[in-house]
Structure formats: C-alpha cells, structure tokens
Amino acid sequence: MNVRRPLSRRALIAGGAALGGGLLLHPDLARAVLPAAPGGNPLIGTTTPTATHWGMVEATVQGGRFVRAAPFSGDAHPTAMIEAFADSVYAKSRVQYPSVRKSFLKSGAAAGGEGRGREEFVRVGWDEALDLVAGELKRVRAAHGNASIFPGSADWQSAGLLHSASALVRRMLGLFGGFTDCTGDPSIAAAMVILPHILGDLEVYDQQTAWPVIQEHTELLVLWGVDPLKDNQIGTHPADHYAYGAIERFREKVRAGRARVIAIDPRRTDTAVYLGAQWVAPRPNTDTALMLGMAHVLYDEGRYDKQFIEKYTVGFDRIAAYLTGKSDGVPKSPAWAAAVTGLDANVIRDLARRMAQSRSMLMSGYAVQRADHGEQPYWMLVTLASLLGQIGLPGGGFGVSYHYDNGGSPTAAAPDVAGISAGENPVKSVLPFERVAEMLLHPGQHVAYNGTIITYPDVHLIYWAGGNPLTHLWQTNKVVEAWRRPETIIVQDPFWTATAKFADIVLPATTTFERNDIEVCGAYSHEYIVAMRKVIEPLFESRNDIDILTGVAKRLGFEHAFTEGKSEMDWIRSFYATTLKQAAGMKIEMPAFDAFWEQGRVAFPVPEAAKGYTSHADFRENPALHPLGTPSGRIELYSKIIEGYHYDDCPPHATWLEPVEWLGSARAKQYPLHLLSPHPRYRLHSQLGNTWIREWYEVNEREPMWLNVDDARERGIANGDVVRVFNERGEVLAGALVTDRVRRGVVVLHEGAWYDPEVPERDGSLCKHGLVNVLTLDKGSSQLAQANIANTTLVEVKKYEQALPPVTAFDPPAISNRRA
C-alpha cells in the first residue's frame, strides 16, 4: 500500500553535509578522546537493559557506539520502531551545545520575538548559558511576577521516573516561587471534564474490563473510532504490548464464528482489517447523531434495558423526550441520523438491534472527543451503553482506553514506583493545555471553563523542557504568532525540534540512552519494574535535564532544595526503597537494589482475579454500596450541575450540536474534505521523525495523506503525487496515498510531522513537510472543557505542480562560533 520514493542514503548524507556545514561534530571528536573498545574488540558488543515508551529493550554498544536496540525477550510483540533508536541518538538534528539566538545574545529581551525561527544561533559555553537562564528568570520575576513564567511541557520526551523533564522543570520553578501551569491532557481534554460529571470518574485512565473477559464473553466487538493495533505500540510507561496477543486470540474467536466485529470509523483501521470487521463509515464528527439514531431505535422498539435505566441512571426522561423530539420537535429517528451521518437508515437500525441482541462491548478511543463539542460523543456513548444495559456485565458495556497503554492488560500484584516530584506550585493560576496560544495572545481575557472563569495570565517567559508545542499545538500559524510575544523562550531538548528552533536559549539534553533511570513496565499491568541503565555517555555537550536544572537552581540559590543532596543513583535508590517498603506491606518479595540493578528487572505475577476484572461490576452489584462519584451516585444521563452552568454549547444531556466545520456545513462547499489527524503508526507524536524510519512511510519525503480513490480521481491526483493541502489557516505539502481505506470526502494526515516552513521570513508560510496542525483550528470544544478540536477541520487538496522544495525540517539551524 505504501509508496516509497525515499532519497538514497548517499543523498541524505550529502545533503546533511551541505546544509550543516562544518559544525556537525562527530561525537567522538566532541569528546576529543576515542572511547575504549569493550573487551578490546570493537565488534564484540555489550548489552544493557533499559526501557522506553516503546517497551523494554536491550541496547547493544559496539566500539563505544550504541548500535542497536533489541526487544526484551519477554516482549512477544515488540514494535519495529525500536530499530530506529540508535539513529535517533546520533541524528544530525541533535542539539550539540548550548546555543543562543544571535540578537537575543546581543540585546536580551530587547531583541523581541520577530527573529525566532529565522535568525541564526551562536554557540555558547554552559556557564554562560546557565547564567543567562538564571538572569532571565530573575529579571522576569522581578518585572512581572511568578505567574508570568510558564513551563507548559507535558513531556513524552523520555520514559524514566527520575529524568522527567516536565516534572523537573516544575520542581525548579516551584522552588523559584511558582509559575502558571496547565491542567488536563490534550489527548483527552473533553473526556476528562465531561466524564467526571456523568460517571464520577476519569474513566479514560481507568483499568478496562480485562481482555480475557472480552475473549470469553464478548459476542459483538464494536470499534468506534479506535485502532488498538496502531496505538498500543507505545505507552506512558514502557509498553507491555499485551493487546497484540489479546487481539490475536480474539481473531481466532472471530474466525471460529463465535464473535463479530464492527468498525465504525471514517478510516478502515489496521485493527479493522486484521479482525475482518464490518466497516461502517459515517461522516466525521457525527458520532453523536449516529448514536442518537441507534438509541431512538432501542427506545422506539422497546429494546432498551428498562431495569438498568431505572436502577443505575438518572435523567432518562429528559433523554427520552429528546429522542422522540418531544423536547425540540426533531425526532432522532434513523432517517434523521442517516441524513446527518451519511449512512443508510437500515444500517443504523441493524447496528442498534445487533448490539441489543448480543453481549456487546463498545470500544471507543480518544479521537471522537478531539472534535468540536467533543464532550457529546462520550456522553452519548455512555447513554447508549446504558440503554443497552450491559455496563458492569462481563464482556459488555463500553471501554475507552483499549488503545491506550494496553488498557485491559490485567494488573499484576505489584508495588508502584513513585518518581521525582515537582512538588507544590505556589502560584495557583492554571489553564487548560489547549488554550496556550490564546493565553499568549490575549492576557487578561476571561474564559469560561467547567463552571468557573479563568483569566489568562500575562506570560513573559516560557521554559519548555522535553516537549514540542510548535508541533502539537493546533493552528500552527496562530501558535507562531503567539510564540513571538514572550520576552524570553528557553528550550531544553536533545533535538533541534521546531520548538527549539523558535527559542532564544537552547540547552542540549541527553536522550534516554545516556542516563540511568527506573521505570514500571505496563502502565496498566505493572508487570515489571525495570532498571534503565545508561547505555552510552552523554553525546556532545549534552547534559541530563536534572543536571541542567541543578545548574540553574544553584545560580538561583536553592541548589540543595532542588537536589536534596542526591545524585542520580541516590534518587533511583530512594525510589526503589519506597517501593520495597510498599512491597513489604503487600507481602511481596523483591530483590535488594543492587541485585535488581544487576539483573535489570523484576517481574510480578498477575493474579487470576485480575484476569477476570470487569469494569463497573461492583457498581452493578450494589449501587448503594459502590456509588459513582456523581451527585446522584448513578450514571447521569442528565446533569443538574451542567444545567446550572447554562452553556449553550454544552447542554445538560447528550445532544447533537453541529461542529463549526463538517461535511454538512456551508463551509464544505469551499473546503470539501474533512481532515482527520490520528496518531502516527511509525512515530510517537513527532518522536523518531528525525530518523531513517521515515523511509518506511513517507511519500516523496512528505508526510503521507490518505485520500479516497474517487476524491483523488476527481482532482487528477495519483498515488505518490505531492499535494498541497490547504484552508484559510494555512497550507502544507503531503504525499498522496490513494486508498479505499478512507471514506469519500475524508482525508487523513497523521499528527507529528516535523514543521518545515518554506519561507521562514514570512508568517503563514507553507509547511513543506506536512505538519497537520498548520491546518487545524484552535478553538475550545465548549465552555465546559475548552478541549482541542483537532479532528474538526475542513480542507481542499490540489496536486502540487511546482518543483518540490527540499525538506529541511531535520537540519539544525545555522549556528556560528562567536569567535568566528
């Protein structure tokens, strides 16, 4: 399916040399000594256990060089992405030494932000860089107060419970008197706010009904906008990849005719293909309408579970009045839903009836809620599952995290490992992650958020460690405009990401493989505690995040409070000591630290009971004894709390509200294609984009874009063509991947391609490489959650007829030596 026309290796090397000039030092040269060959023979390697977001690995070093990572032998389904780790460590996009934007070095904050992303950098020494950072922090705090300092980072940069850049930078800034912080999580920002109102819990991070229960009891598996085979490759904690074996086993059940799978999704996902699912492809963002149509069928035909509704929910009469049209004059009939979703009314009837007749598990992902009014599809999913009445039954109900962290992987009897703490932030102003650009552009503005009013602080200094907001924030050209406003931007990262290129002070951080750490493998299973042993010494002049921040803390006068006098290994030992104490309380035997560190990991058994875990079973068994955390203690199909907020964009029960952009809107005449931006298959957001792994998926060096066969034909676009994707917010180049795996009228451009403006001097420049957020819209889902709406975007696509501009996203910026 994939079209590959990569540059040859030779061309890549030549290009790199031409663009990087003489400044790209070989790491050995940077150290000025050749590393000793282990065992005297550079071809005989040593292996070191460590762990990453992609899972546990064994890293091999030959001749002092990290050459490859092999999967941990106990990982039956390792991801192929680990093959690119070594390339990532030595990528030409590594930040090699502290660097400062030229005019900032000369004039400080007086330089203004216009030169960001445009000017060259100047190499400086560590002492000078850290003096500059500490000086800027002091200056900005004195002039504008602590709330004007913003770290922002959510940090997927590295696994490891000590070297968490986002926690460490908050720890330092907390000791400095505080900072403006973010709350929520861009992955699930709408869900995190709406679900506590209707289920009394976050749900999105909760353990799911265990896969063995699905295997035994589920007769109808509904994949609603979710692709577990793609997304479970990675995890917040090192991934255990349990889902792959589970889905493999479930396929046997499907093949034996004992279960069926339906995939409701504008894309035909990898999981849908693998499981041979029936594919139902509604228009994007119409999930709530589709579920309402199905609920109407259940209600109208008396197929809903009246006892469940009565015993476990509140507010059904309000939903019933909405379904019949009694409350708004519009019956949510299958015909009505068909007109909204673009599906056949009989398909909608059939879906509802089959779900009611079978033990049905409604598996959804986070994608449906990353949309305008993204609160509604989740509320309606729970409403539909309540009508079906299978919540709390083995293999029935709903689950929203089977694609995330291998949800449903049974939980071992294991202690936890608590990592470095950020501690308390004396400044109490917080805002949702999603509103960063708005905050920078409109200080002082008041915004409704979940029953409260937020006032945007006036941010003058950004200190971003371990993250890439210029890629992950929405509506890039607006973000770039916002990024020019603060006086000072400090970025700490191993790589010259777009965010680093748009900074004033850039500090080179080590990668996972250059430091010691500790992790828990399996965010849900907790099956292993793993030693992350340093594989190689830090490359170039890079330092560990904690050491960089210690240097800042020292200059600010609180080094000891920051380090507590502990070295890297002291911290790791102290985490492990807490774990040992907890294990003792649980009567679990564990090795002493030295033995653990030597053997590399400790495994914990999974009890049989965990394999039989059914979500919400206790609530179903006795709702009085196990009430939900809602005001009623039951599932709130209607929320009196939300009613009291009086939000026109988030009514008090699940409601179909037209998104600001969708195929049914007038705007679709101008921009007739709905753009989706799911997680990529061969990156973790933007990570690993700077490796040869791009050759696996890029089309003409551009991010591939799924385009339906008929849409392509209409536009004269062939497989492998480079296309211009655009709307009034921006334009990007992408490589056309013409396929029948996406619904007509829908295009898919996975998130995380590295940003590559063609003409950096001009705002709003075309991105040569295909960063999807150039096209997305920065708007809150509603006044309730203010969540991002990445999947609510209309575009048009045209074949790109001009000469292809070279991709330069992975080149470091021009850097000069001051003495030169």
């Binding site: 926690a167 009394g200 976050l202 936890d416 703490s421 501690g423 005001p631």
Partner: protein, 211 residues
C-alpha cells in the same frame, strides 16, 4: 457494616445543605467545630465495641471529627467517642459526612452496639439517607486536637507523590464525590499504600469544589 458523621463538615463553607446539617447537628448534640474536647483521627483508626477486647466494629477515616464522650483514661487507653453521619439506605456499612456529599467518615463491619437513628431524608435523586449517631471506642493515640495537622501532612504527601507524572491538580478541581474514584485510578502510579491513599483522599475531599 454501618455509618458516621464528622463535625468537620461544620468548617465547610460550601453547600446550603451542609449548613442545614450543621445546624441540625448543633441542635442535636450541642457541639461545634470550636467546641472544647473535640478530637480528630489522624489516620485510619480502628473502631471498637468496648473499652477493652478485640471486638473491632470497623474504622474511621483520617481527619474524622469525634467527640470523646467518656472520662479520658490513661494516655494509651481507648477513648469512648461519639461519631455521627449519614448512610445510604441499603448500604449502611458506610457513613458519609452529609446528604449527597460522600466523604467517608467510617466504614463498619458489624453494627455498633450503640447506634441511634436521628432522622431520614430523601435527596433530589430519590435516594434515602439515614442520619445516625453511634458510640464506639478508639485508641487515644490516633486522636489529635485539630484537623490542620492532618491536612498538612496529607498535603505534603499529595504534593510529593502526585506531581511526578502531571502537574499537581488543585483540590478544588474536582468535587468531594469525584475525588475517590480519581484517586483509585491514579494511585497506581504514586506508590501510596492504602492508609496513605485514605489520608490523601480525605484531604482532597475536604478541600474540594462544591459543585
């Protein structure tokens, strides 16, 4: 299993319903937050049926207000205490702080020998709540004269353990009813044992948003 109520709700400036309960409590038993002699549990505190013997009837959550009702004994002996709260009909093993506000004050394994039903009330959702007063015995070492020290140690623990993976959430981001479920989900990353979880949960609930 059964119930309880804490005078700590009197400190709460939140909902009108809480205020009503507070006034009721004042009228009924003549104590207030400021009242002399009131004590607070500083951790998960076993509750006994008598001054001596192993007859455990359940436990009190950390930060629960109790009123010693008998003459204090020697330093390490058990104190007789009165505890009051609300249970949900059909689940009288758990005593909450107020109608609709599910801050667990006590969980009971067996009925307390001295238990008085004060009143019954139906909430907005049709759930029947029973206002109960019970008398039991606790080891005096679990009691402290003010709740502030309990919250202070809980706050430190919360900040230390819950700010590693994400920005520390302000207690006021969620309601008292929502916090226990959120803690249940998140605690697996925080290396908190059940006792510590109970302490942090109670702290967050007591400092939660009203709605």
């Amino acid at each position: 299993m059964r119930h309880v109520y804490g005078w700590s709700v009197l400190a709460d400036k939140a909902a009108a319903v809480t205020l009503t309960i507070a006034i009721t409590a004042l009228a009924l038993i003549g104590v207030s937050k400021a009242s002399a002699g009131q004590m607070f549990t500083q951790d998960v505190t076993p509750l006994y049926a008598a001054a001596q013997g192993s007859g455990g009837i359940g436990s009190l959550s950390p930060g629960t207000a109790v009123m010693p009702s008998g003459t204090p004994q020697a330093a390490h002996a058990r104190s007789e205490v009165v505890v009051e709260g609300w249970s949900i009909q059909g689940a009288d093993a758990v005593l909450y702080s107020a109608v609709g506000r599910r801050i667990v004050l006590a969980t009971l394994e067996t009925a307390a020998p001295q238990e008085t039903l004060i009143a019954e009330q139906r909430d907005d959702y049709g759930t029947v709540w029973r206002h109960v007063r019970l008398v039991g015995w606790v080891d005096a070492t679990h009691l402290v004269p003010d709740a502030a020290s309990v919250w202070s140690s809980a706050q430190k623990l919360y900040a230390a353990r819950c700010s590693a993976c994400h920005a520390l959430h302000a207690p006021a981001e969620f309601t008292a009813n929502q916090w226990p479920g959120i803690l249940r989900t998140m605690v697996r990353n925080a290396a908190l044992d059940p006792e510590q979880t109970a302490l942090v949960t109670r702290y967050l609930q007591e400092h939660a948003r009203a709605q």
